[in-house]
C-alpha cells in the first residue's frame, strides 16, 4: 500500500503495540505504540528534573551514545564564560554534572561546536533522514527538514527516553501542505511559514504531522527548509517533514559533519534514504495548497503567530481576524500598543533581533549582511545579531560578515537562544518594540511587556536600516 514519508518512518520505529489497553482504546486511535528513538538531544532547561527522576528510581540512560547535550537557553552572548545569574549558572552546572554521571556527550560553553540545540544537530550530522528524534524543546520540529520524524517532548518524556530509548505514542494524523509556484525573492521561507500559520491558525496543525512539499519547497535550501519545519509547532503541529532529496544529501555530505556517515557508508545511506519520500498515491488525512508566488513579506502585529499581515497591509480591526475573537484581537492590540488601521510600514521599532533556531544559520546571516552592507542602522535602533552556533559564528567571521554587521552599527554576539526567549540577559524592556527573526510573539516572550513582531531575516535587516517596517521588495537590489 502506498505510504507517506511519515508512515514509513513511523512503521520502521514501532517496537510493539502496547497490549495492556482496553480494546476500546486500540480500536479508537489505532492503539499506543512503543516508538523507538534514534537521537535524543538534551538542553539545560528541560532536563535536570528528568535526570533527577532517573536517580530517584535508580535507572540509567539506556543508550548514552544516542544522546547528545548542549547548553543554549541560559547562555550569555556577551562574555559567555561569565554567568552572573547564580540560578542560570546552577542550571548549566547541573547539565555538566548530569552528562558526566550518565555518560552523555556534552557540547559545553568551551566547545567550538556549542550552539542552539536545533542548529548543532544538523551541523554535526546527528540529524539524518529517516530517524526518529526528540528533545525537550518544542522547536525540535526543525530537524524534520531532513525527513526525520522529530518532535518536542516534556520533561517526563525526556526521562522516559533517557531510561528506555522509547516513547509510548499514538500515531499522529497527516496534513500535506503543498506550496505551489515559487516565492518571489526576497520573499523567503519565513514568509511561507508565517503565511501558513495565518491561514490554518496556531492550532490548525494540532494532532497532525505536516509534510511540506511542492515546487517552492523543492527549490529551498536546507537552511530554509529548517526555518519552515521549525515553526510547524507555531501552527500547532509537533512535527513537520520535508522529503529528503539531493539538496538534503548534498548538505549532509558537505563540510565537517562528524556523526554523519561518510564515503561508502554515505552512498549506502543515500540509497536507503531515496526510498523514504511519500509514495505516489499515498493518502493524507488532510491536504492544503498555498500559492507561494502570491505571498508577500509577512509581519506579525499581535501576540499570537497567526496574527500576521502582509507588509503592505494594515493593523486589522478587531472582529476582522479569522480564527481570533474580537476580544483576542483587542487584548493583543492593547498589549502591542497598536491602533487598528495603522499601516504596517508605519510601525517603528526600537530593537531588531537577528537570531534563534528559526533564523540564525549561516544563510540567514548572509542574507542580513547582504542587506546591511554599505548601509547604517537607523539612529536609536539597537540591533543584536546572535549566531545560532559557534560554528555559524566562526563561518560568519571567516566570511567577514561580523565586520559588515558591526560597521553598520549592529552588535555581534556569541551563540545561544538569546532574545528569542530572554532566559539570558538579552531581553526587551516593557513597551520596547522589536522586529525579530524568532518564532514567538507571545506576551512577555522576549521580556516582560516587550512587543515582538516576527519577520524574516531580510525584513529584519531592512527594518534595522529604515527604523520601521518596509516593503523590502521595493529596495533597489530587488529590482522595483
Amino acid at each position: 500500500m502506498a505510504q507517506t514519508l511519515f508512515e514509513k518512518i513511523w512503521s520502521r520505529h514501532v517496537v510493539m503495540m502496547l497490549p495492556d489497553l482496553p480494546a476500546e482504546a486500540s480500536a479508537q486511535a489505532g492503539g499506543t505504540a512503543i516508538l523507538y528513538i534514534d537521537r535524543h538531544l538534551v538542553h539545560e532547561v528541560t532536563s535536570p528534573q528528568a535526570f533527577e527522576g532517573l536517580r530517584l528510581s535508580k535507572r540509567t540512560v539506556r543508550r548514552p551514545e544516542l544522546t547528545f547535550a548542549t547548553m543554549d537557553h541560559n547562555v550569555p552572548t556577551v562574555d559567555r564564560m561569565v554567568i552572573r545569574d547564580p540560578i542560570s549558572k546552577a542550571q548549566i552546572e547541573a547539565l555538566e554534572a548530569n552528562c558526566r554521571e550518565f555518560g552523555v556527550t556534552l557540547y559545553d560553553l568551551k566547545s567550538d561546536k556549542q550552539g542552539i540545540v536545533h542548529i548543532i544537530g544538523p551541523e554535526l550530522g546527528l540529524t539524518l533522514p529517516g530517524l526518529t528524534m526528540v528533545c525537550g524543546d518544542s522547536h525540535t520540529s526543525t530537524h524534520g527538514a531532513f525527513g526525520a520524524l522529530a518532535f518536542g517532548i516534556g520533561t517526563s518524556e525526556v526521562e522516559h527516553v533517557l531510561a528506555t530509548q522509547c516513547l509510548p505514542q499514538q500515531k499522529a494524523k497527516t496534513l500535506k501542505v503543498e506550496f505551489t509556484g515559487r516565492p518571489k525573492p526576497p520573499v523567503s521561507a519565513k514568509d511561507l511559514i508565517l503565511k501558513l500559520i495565518g491561514t490554518i491558525g496556531t492550532a490548525g496543525g494540532t494532532g497532525y504531522v505536516l509534510e511540506y512539499c511542492g515546487e517552492a519547497i523543492l527549490a529551498l535550501s536546507m537552511e530554509a527548509r529548517m526555518t519552515i519545519c521549525n515553526m510547524s509547532i507555531e501552527a500547532g503541529a509537533r512535527a513537520g517533514l520535508v522529503a529528503p532529496d539531493d539538496t538534503t544529501f548534498e548538505y549532509i555530505a558537505r563540510g565537517q559533519r562528524p556523526f554523519a556517515p561518510q564515503g561508502k557508508a554515505l552512498d549506502g545511506a543515500i540509497a536507503r534514504w531515496r526510498t523514504l519520500p511519500s509514495d505516489p498515491g499515498a493518502r493524507y488525512d488532510r491536504e492544503l495548497t498555498i500559492n507561494a508566488a502570491e505571498i508577500a513579506p509577512q509581519v506579525t502585529w499581535g501576540t499570537s503567530p497567526g496574527m500576521v499581515a502582509d507588509v503592505t497591509g494594515r493593523v486589522p480591526q478587531p472582529g476582522d481576524v479569522p480564527g481570533y475573537s474580537r476580544s483576542d484581537v483587542e487584548q493583543a492590540l492593547a498589549y502591542m500598543g497598536l491602533v487598528p488601521g495603522t499601516l504596517i510600514t508605519d510601525i517603528a521599532v526600537a530593537t531588531v533581533f537577528i537570531g534563534s533556531c528559526t533564523n540564525a544559520r549561516i544563510e540567514d546571516l548572509r542574507i542580513a549582511a547582504g542587506i546591511l552592507k554599505g548601509r547604517k542602522v537607523a539612529k536609536g535602533v539597537r540591533v543584536l545579531v546572535v549566531p545560532g552556533s559557534q560554528q555559524v559564528r566562526a563561518q560568519a567571521q571567516a566570511e567577514g560578515l561580523d565586520r559588515v554587521f558591526t560597521t553598520a552599527g549592529c552588535e555581534w554576539r556569541e551563540s545561544g537562544c538569546s532574545m528569542c526567549l530572554g532566559m539570558n540577559p538579552d531581553q526587551l524592556k516593557p513597551g520596547e518594540r522589536c522586529a525579530s527573526t524568532s518564532n514567538r510573539n507571545f506576551e512577555g516572550r522576549q521580556g516582560k511587556g516587550g512587543r515582538t513582531h516576527l519577520v524574516s531575516p531580510h525584513m529584519a535587516a531592512a527594518t534595522a536600516v529604515a527604523g520601521h517596517f518596509v516593503d523590502i521588495r521595493r529596495w533597489p537590489e530587488h529590482g522595483s
Binding site: I34, D38, E65, A203, T206, D328, K448
Partner: protein, 215 residues
Amino acid sequence: MTPFRSHRGKLAVVDRANIDTDAIIPKQHLKSIARTGFGAHLFSDWRYASDGTPNPEFALNQPTFAGASILVARNNFGCGSSREHAVWAIQQGGFQAVIAPWQDRNGTRVPAFADIFRNNANKNALLTVELSAPEVEEIVQMAGRYAGLEATVDLDHQRVTLHLPEEMAFHFEIDAAVKERLVHGIDDIGITLEHEAAITAFEARHDPQRPRASA
C-alpha cells in the same frame, strides 16, 4: 503517578484564548532544577505588577476565585513551548483540572489543548477536559453569575457537573488509553520497561544509523 478519578472544587475563569506556556510560567522561573516551587509563579507576568504586588485586574487575584482548583479558559490552551513547568505550575498553584473548548475552523475540529501540553498534563495527572465552545461559554457565564461556584470533574463517568441550585452537567470525551492510565495512576516508564525484551530484540534488528565514533 497519583490516580485521578473525580474531583470537586471551585471554578476559576481566565477568559482568554491561546494561553501559551510562556504566560503560564514565564521564562525567568524556568531556571530551577527542582520539580517544585512553581506555584507562586503561575501566570506571574499577569498576576503581579512590576513591583511584585498582585495585579487586582487579573482573574486569579479576584477574591471570588480564591482557592479554586478547576481552571476554565478558552481555545488552544497550552500552546507554545514544551516546558512541563507549565503543568507543574498549574498543579502547584492548586489546580487539578483545566477545561477548555475545541473550535470549529472551516469544518475541521481544532483540539482545545496543544499537543505537548496535553501530553505533559497526562503524565502528571492534571486532567484536561475538552468541551464545545457553547458549553464552555455556559460555564463561564455561570461562574460569573454564581460567586464561588463549584464543579465536579468526574473522569470515571466523563462528566463535568456544575453545582448550581439546579445542577448542570456536561459529558466530555477522552482517549480511552489516556483515561485508563489516569484512573489507575500508571507509571509510563514502568510499563515500557516491562517490555525490555521487546526493546532489546528491536535494537538487534534496527539500525539507528548509529553516530560514528566520538567527534
